[in-house]
């Protein structure tokens, strides 16, 4: 009884995993095949497409730009959200309610509408930043806010924050010291989770990047789009590389944070 039950669970889980991994596996196989036309299986395996991709300066530049914009946006978001979350949960509770409302905005406005609005606002006027990485960083900031704020707010709400700060003050720590030694380390897991999810989301962002800066500051997704008439093997290699890069970064960050304990 138990035995079969366990196996049926496993069957369900693995078929789900298989279903989700199928497109990725197919892409992987396609990116590794020399040519794959009318036959069921590819004619041969090759690393040619990867070599071509990773020796293409345009790809490397796009990759670096994506990385730069995402990390800059993320750093900005963390720098703004951390103090904000702390203040909203110690001093001004109304700020938390406001943030809960504001957080919905990036999802309420469709990206195309948002992008067109931003284009109108920043194409000319006092701040003509359309086409520069700055507008992308600022725009990505707004996209990362909901993820990061929610992750941080959830972990801070799980702490007896007032008591912790009071205890630290009685034990001789000033409020800034109490934040650094007690509150921030306790928020670390929430912060990391928020960063991972925003990073993978931003790294894959296409609509804003394409409309706001397009080819003037070609990011990875925009490059992928521009290469769509190129060989399918080549773009498959690109997708797989991009996926592996995110996987690697996530693993690395996770690893680093664990060893920092």
């Amino acid at each position: 009884m138990r035995w079969t039950e366990q196996h049926s669970y496993r069957l369900i889980v693995w078929s789900l995993v298989g279903l989700l991994a199928m497109p990725l596996l197919a892409t992987l196989l396609y990116s590794l095949s020399s040519s794959w036309g009318a036959t069921l299986l590819p004619d041969g395996l090759t690393l040619r497409w990867y070599l071509a991709l990773w020796s293409e300066p345009r790809f490397l530049a796009a990759f670096a730009r994506s990385l730069l914009v995402c990390l800059a946006a993320l750093a900005l978001t963390v720098a703004v959200m951390l103090p904000l979350v702390l203040v909203a949960h110690t001093r001004w509770p109304w700020l938390d309610r406001l943030m809960q409302q504001l957080m919905l905005l990036p999802f309420a406005v469709p990206p195309v509408v948002g992008a067109v609005g931003l284009l109108q606002l920043y194409a000319g006027g006092p701040l003509p930043i359309v086409g520069t990485p700055w507008i992308l960083i600022a725009c990505f900031f707004t996209l990362a806010v909901p993820f990061l704020y929610q992750a941080l707010a959830t972990s801070i709400k799980a702490l007896p924050l007032q008591d912790l700060l009071d205890a630290a003050r009685l034990l001789g720590a000033s409020t800034p010291v109490a934040f650094c030694r007690v509150v921030l380390p306790s928020l670390r897991n929430g912060l990391l989770a928020g960063c991972f999810i925003s990073f993978s989301f931003l790294f894959g962002e296409f609509v804003f990047a394409n409309l706001l800066v397009g080819t003037r500051f070609e990011t990875l997704q925009v490059y992928l789009n521009n290469m769509r008439n190129h060989s399918g093997h080549y773009t498959s290699a690109l997708v797989i590389s991009y996926f592996l890069a995110i996987l690697l970064l996530t693993w690395l960050a996770n690893r680093l944070s664990r060893s920092a304990r």
Binding site: L164, D166, A167, L170, V182, S186
Partner: protein, 338 residues
């Protein structure tokens, strides 16, 4: 000689003052309980003494020094919170060492002090654990060690035992009392549990709505409640109006009275109750077994009274609905202030 003095404390909001000319003084080395229902201001009082809530009016003196507006860390006060407030990211050792690290004491000295403290609260083996790996009682002891390690002049305990199960609560209660007496530490203990206050304290301060209703040692507060609130909060006193008391005792009464449930006498035969007021016929309405005590709810005319009897012989338990005789020893009637 009073060690901690609160004088003319004013606190609260304009529309809703909590304390109005509140005064309290506490002798050195005493364990004083602040007892009262939630919202009576006992926790606020503790926060005022600790300096966690800024004082609006009045003065607080500790060991002859005016600390009314000192920063919390300059007051030399240790505090244990109801939620323990252990730092979740630090090990037991680092939690206890926190204050000493803030004082920038030498490493070796910190290690020695913390180890000695952990020994005292029987936590030496758990020094490297994180708070989430501890049970409630262990967390409580870490919090206590953390508050005591820098040798405070005053220890504040904010309902430290309320989240624990009964057996651990009793054990910890004794441990707190032992440590307090070993150090001769003046302690302010906030609780809403009358049993805790009675068993633990040198002095009990009973509070209601920001006022002191009554204070004294456990025996005084228990045996002589000053008003109806005190009588109802401490012990399960029966509170009787003047006319009810007159009906029950057969003597003229002019004011409200309280009588403890264990002072009432119950019997199946009226003649065994001679020497007191004339026995009254009563009927058992309810019976509660509290272990060593049987608690009866009996009806006497319009009146419903609580009577406690020791659970000495299982055969002598009165049944619900049984007709009995009740007598009131006159000496046990406590007159209450209006």
């Amino acid at each position: 000689m009073s060690f901690l003095t609160l004088s003319h404390i004013e606190q609260g909001y304009a529309q809703q003052p909590l304390f109005n000319d509140f005064n309290l003084s506490i002798g050195e080395g005493q364990l004083v309980s602040l007892l009262g229902p939630s919202g009576c201001g006992k926790s606020t009082l503790l926060r005022l003494v600790a300096g966690l809530t800024p004082l609006q009016g009045g003065r607080i003196h500790l060991a002859g020094r005016d600390i009314s507006h000192c920063a919390p860390r300059e007051r030399g006060i240790g505090m244990v919170f109801q939620s323990y407030a252990l730092f979740p990211n630090l090990s037991v050792f680092d939690n206890v060492a926190f204050a000493l690290v803030q004082q920038k004491q030498p490493k070796a000295q910190i290690r020695q002090a913390v180890e000695a403290m952990l020994e005292q609260v029987e936590l030496s083996e758990l020094a490297n654990r994180l708070p989430r790996q501890l049970s409630g009682g262990q967390c409580q002891r870490v919090a206590l060690a953390r508050a005591l390690v820098c040798k405070p002049r005053l220890l504040l305990l904010d309902e430290p035992l309320s989240a624990l199960d009964a057996r651990i609560r009793r054990h910890l209660r004794e441990q707190i009392r032992q440590l307090q007496q070993a150090y001769g530490l003046t302690t302010l203990f906030v609780t809403h549990d009358q049993e805790e206050a009675l068993t633990l304290s040198d002095h009990i301060v009973l509070m209601e709505c920001g006022r002191i209703v009554q204070q004294g040692n456990a025996a005084e507060v228990y045996s002589a409640p000053v008003n109806e609130f005190a009588a109802r909060f401490i012990g399960h006193y029966n509170v009787l109006s003047a006319s009810e008391a007159q009906q029950l005792s057969g003597h003229a009464q002019t004011q409200a009275l309280a009588i403890r449930p264990e002072a009432l006498l119950l019997s199946t035969q009226p003649q065994t109750l001679t020497g007191h007021c004339a026995p009254q016929p009563v009927q058992v309405e309810r019976l509660q077994l509290l272990g060593n005590v049987l608690r009866y709810q009996v009806r006497c005319g319009e009146l419903s009274l609580t009577c406690d009897r020791l659970n000495q012989h299982p055969q002598q338990v009165f049944a619900v609905g049984q007709q009995l005789w009740l007598s009131v020893p006159l000496a046990a009637l406590r007159p209450l202030a209006a």
